[in-house]
Symmetry: C2
Subunit: 662 residues, 2 copies
């Protein structure tokens, strides 16, 4: 892209901001040292000519995308070594900077294969395999999902049957629906995997366990006997990743290939069950906390693109015959974008909280205290579902807000969307996640009714509360929190009562559950929403930042709370907690907040501090030279490398002369 | 895909339907003769080996997609001729069947270039160009949108300056932002276009006019002097279409190339203005009515895929330890899919109404009566925006409801989505459309206040109405319509009052408009929603169909009305028109309707009568053999044609041995 001066509209936006962007960036990134380090690492990628000379991803075929991802992986590995990057956060910064919104086909070796070995393997197993996996001689993946089975792990069909005669497990895919499907890197890259299968020994099934399986020869990468694998075919996104399938036909592996840190199968086939099966929850929670962070980041990126573009784009007229205004000056555009911006901030703070909570509770778990695990698990499942839904829907709104150009890959937005939206599905389908939260909330509700006290962030459940809101025209934080608490508590109670009335009408518990699951879903959703609002308010109450920045953050936070009520108004009004008068206050406050936030909109997205090379967007560039960038993007298209395309001679010319021979 | 028997779950679903699917299909397709004809034409495509032997679209590169589209266009043209297909509807049936969810790069020649000539050209111009355009010697496109200018036509910058000395127009792209951008087929296919430009003559600008411009030589397709064009680069979807850009550098065209049916420039440069500029509204309305129809069809297709798959897919457990249930049995899945199914039906009837209204009013316009034009224009703009928003968001929900497999191109859903969602943007950006409806509604409101009567479907505005709903537990159609009317009337009144209060506070009218535009948007949205509900109820009240089918249609219709209130509850409760008691009725009714509709869900999507080759979906197949189809799709992937991919030798082997040289 051509380098130029800053678009004058964007320059003016930055001048008129009422706060210091750098101060906010420092706050968002955890202090000046961390922000500096982040920029240093992003800059390594930005200045590395190697990345810049690769063909732009959107002009690559699937095979080119895959190959480029391998090339990038190898290059990144060397650079990471060369620059001595070792810290977990630094590594992640480098990788998301080098692989923006795309998957590294070898990434799963680090993100899931190695952690599975570390957590489930015995010391000998770890000593055997981990060094090879770290040096990427063994390239592993995690083969769990099957073509007919996803989130419900007990439904998996793949079998591992112990044969005491040879002291081996025999792995099989007993039906078409048992075919492993979707694991990243499984199609063409991985030479090993951990495979999740139903363990049979001494004629009995002991449920799912994890086994190490070599897929391909380390000599020539050919498939080992009994193994069929390949890619699953092209997808909405993730072209860089060879998601694959796997069929097993009586594949024999040594007994030692079962990961036996917890469960064991002895030589004679005796099964030893694990002491505490809950210990393995940890990874799941950690992975979900990454998804929450990504949901926050993806939405923030989309807002950055749409808001910068809306400051540059001029369209139609406000004053008759006057200059075309920046589209960000239209109230309808503010209505679509500013609440999303506030959501991105809310999710940022939610993600920060979740990471901290995870670390705190993890230490307790390591120390053998498991009492906070259900709470952590519910938080992770709920926030994962709540943020990925809102983030992916929000990204599409940002894209549509960019008009026609949003539809071009030049905008960068389609790639962000197709990278974000699978978060609604993988690592626990969102509806299932929400219902898990609901199960936890129902347990809390019962506990409270039986006089037990509840942990911090669910303590509002079953409390007696005001029947009406005291909200005034100022719409205070206190009144916002009370409103969200009231709504969540009411919906939880309603769901519990609906369950009860189904049971009283004669339904078994599981039928009552299903018949109440819409209510349960809404209750869980309201609980997660409350968490995000209350946590946002708490986070900025405690934060150390100058008063100008704090004032702006307060506005953003208030908009998040106000808009969330307006969007879900019925749930707040149904029992008259909020009345028409309150709604009037809320609507007026929302419009006032739009006016207050409008001058800071660009500065608020600048504070996220995304480098241009990570956004990959002609519309979201820091310099705002959008039309030149779109034109340059067009010129690069492979089809533009000849004036007359080859199809003219083959097809158009005969058509034009009426002589097509097809 | 392999052929097999019908999946037993799907077969059972079809057996237990309470109505005759064929009867409903006949109703939806306008009678037995039309349904038969539709099937006959679809079958021509289905049985044509030519289409089947093409490489599946999702495995094609962009250039292959484009080339295949040209090949298909040429083949389709011959088949259409061979089978003597001439009726406009039949042609459309053939084309959408042969080009499912993709654009024909020559299609715009028929859909916009020729109609522009027909409507704006003089008799001589038509005689000159139309025969050549029909035989596709001239391949034209419609060059309107510019890189910096979209929906707001007055903002276009391209100039056509008349030079009386040579009796020519000189066409110019005066700036980067004036570059024509997005026109279909402009990049590599078209050799002509009509170009929309600001007309200058005798030193004065007369606004935008349309000019015929030859882009490329008819001898060798090379670009003519002063013309720069090319594709705009890859996009979210529409890979088959070479959307292009165009820059003009003092390109001279004869005076006769201005389309002069209405406006004229005489030889000396005198400008003659048109008698009635409104006449040209017709095409715009027609195109928008097609978009509404497509929105209905796309959503119906997505529902077909998601509901059939949800009947085949089994997951988790309802009864502890029991068989995994069909996911369609989960209330949460019904909550997501059944309201969308009802929406697809509502939009079907809305589209039918709109087409009929268009034809009726068009005849009046031809006869010189223009009084109903504003009403028609508002209906078209509003329904276009309302249906495309809801349809595209709904398609994504359907896709996510299919879990991981929904993300694969094998599901067919991503292609439907990327084909549907641009409908929110093109032919009038949706927010702008909604605000045009609002402008019409504000005029109606003023008219009513001044004692004038309003035309049929806006006559409710400003009427005195009940202050409270009389809705009972049965939730009658009458009470539903009253509720939607009340909400729309109230929001229209509120928007009008807000405008007024802004004006009284000293804002100029255009500022007041912008400051009220969120309210105006909501008012227009409520009006369109009312139209869809009322029209659905009216349509089935009058329809001739057996009583079993009618009963089911009534349930679908009631769900559409009930769910729409629940989703927008605040707007119905804000002035206490609906109370908590009503909400209770509505929620219970919704759950009851889920139970009533559940046994008919598959039959209701079967009635849409989409052939498999049009859905292009492994998950939505009529026979329900989804896992075999997914596996077959995977096997076809180009990357699976070798066991060891070429990248192994180039990249993986050196990596694994620690010898990468990159």
């Amino acid at each position: 892209m051509s380098q130029g001066s800053i678009n004058s509209d964007l320059a003016k936006e930055r001048q008129k901001a009422t706060f210091n962007v750098e101060n906010l960036s420092v706050l968002l990134h955890g202090g000046p040292a961390k922000l500096k380090r982040k920029r240093y690492i992003e800059n390594l990628v930005c200045e590395d000519l190697f990345y810049r000379q690769l063909k732009p991803w959107s002009y690559c075929s699937i095979e080119e995308q895959y190959e480029n991802a391998l090339i990038k992986h190898i290059h990144a590995k060397k650079q990471i070594e060369k620059h001595g990057i070792k810290d977990r956060n630094d590594l992640m910064t480098y990788r998301v900077s080098a692989f923006p919104h795309e998957a590294d086909p070898i990434g799963i070796n680090t993100s899931m294969f190695i952690p599975a070995l570390e957590q489930q393997g015995t010391e000998e197993q770890k000593a055997n395999w981990l060094p090879l996996a770290h040096q990427e001689t063994i390239i592993g993946t995690y083969a769990q999902t099957e073509i007919g089975h996803g989130t419900f792990l007990r439904g998996l069909e793949t079998t591992a049957t112990y044969d005491p005669k040879t002291k081996e497990f025999v792995l099989n895919t007993p039906s078409l629906s048992a075919t492993k499907f979707w694991p990243a890197g499984l199609g063409k890259t991985a030479n090993h995997c951990v495979v999740v299968a139903q363990l049979y020994t001494q004629g009995k099934c002991h449920g799912i366990h994890i086994f190490m399986l070599q897929l391909r020869s380390l000599e020539d990468h050919s498939l080992l006997p009994g193994i069929e694998t390949g890619v699953i075919g092209n997808k909405f996104g993730f072209g860089t990743n060879d998601n694959g399938y796997l069929k097993l036909n009586s594949v024999r592996i040594p007994r030692d290939n079962m990961l036996m840190r917890y469960s064991k199968v002895l030589e004679d086939g005796t099964y030893i069950r694990p002491e505490n099966p809950k210990v393995t929850y940890g990874v799941m929670v950690l992975v979900r906390s990454f998804i929450v962070r990504n949901a926050a980041v993806f939405l923030a990126e989309a807002c950055t693109i749409a808001i910068r573009y809306s400051a540059v784009r001029r369209q139609s007229e406000l004053t008759p015959g006057g200059i075309e205004p920046q589209i960000l000056d239209y109230q309808t555009q503010q209505y679509r974008l500013l609440p999303l911006l506030s959501t991105a901030y809310a999710f940022h703070f939610a993600s920060t909280n979740m990471t901290e909570t995870y670390e705190r509770i993890s230490q307790q778990i390591e120390g053998g205290r498991l009492d906070q695990l259900p709470q952590l698990h519910a938080l992770a499942a709920g926030l994962k579902a709540f943020t990925t839904y809102a983030s992916s829907a929000g990204i599409e709104i940002c894209r549509i807000c960019c008009g026609g150009h949003g539809y071009s890959h030049a905008s960068g937005l389609p790639k962000i969307y197709v990278c974000a939206v699978p978060g609604c599905t993988y690592e626990g389908e969102n509806t299932v996640m929400m219902l898990q939260v609901a199960r936890y909330l129902m347990k809390c509700y019962r506990d409270k009714q039986q006089g037990r006290s509840l942990p911090g962030f669910v303590s509002y459940i079953g409390e007696s509360m005001e029947k009406k809101s005291f909200m005034g025209a100022d719409v205070s934080f206190t009144c916002l929190i009370k409103a969200y608490k009231h709504r969540a508590a009411r919906l939880i109670e309603e769901a519990a009562k609906q369950m009860q009335s189904c049971i009283q009408a004669g339904s078994p518990a599981h039928v009552a559950w299903n018949k109440s699951s819409v209510q349960l879903f809404l209750a869980a959703n309201a609980h997660c929403h409350l968490f995000c609002v209350e946590n946002f308010i708490d986070s900025i109450r405690d934060c150390k930042v100058d008063s100008n920045t704090l004032k702006v953050l307060n506005e953003v936070c208030q908009l998040y709370g106000v808009h969330g009520i307006i969007e879900n108004l019925g749930e707040f009004m149904q029992d008259n907690f909020l009345t028409g008068q309150h709604v009037d206050y809320l609507q007026k406050k929302m419009l006032t907040l739009f006016e207050l936030m409008r001058p800071n909109a660009v500065a608020l997205v600048d504070a996220f501090d995304f480098p241009d090379h990570k956004l990959e967007s002609c519309l979201g560039r820091y310099d705002g030279q959008v039309y030149q960038a779109l034109y340059d993007y067009a010129k690069m298209a492979p089809m533009n490398q000849t004036e007359v395309h080859s199809t003219y001679y083959k097809h158009l010319r005969p058509l034009m002369s009426g002589n097509s021979k097809l």
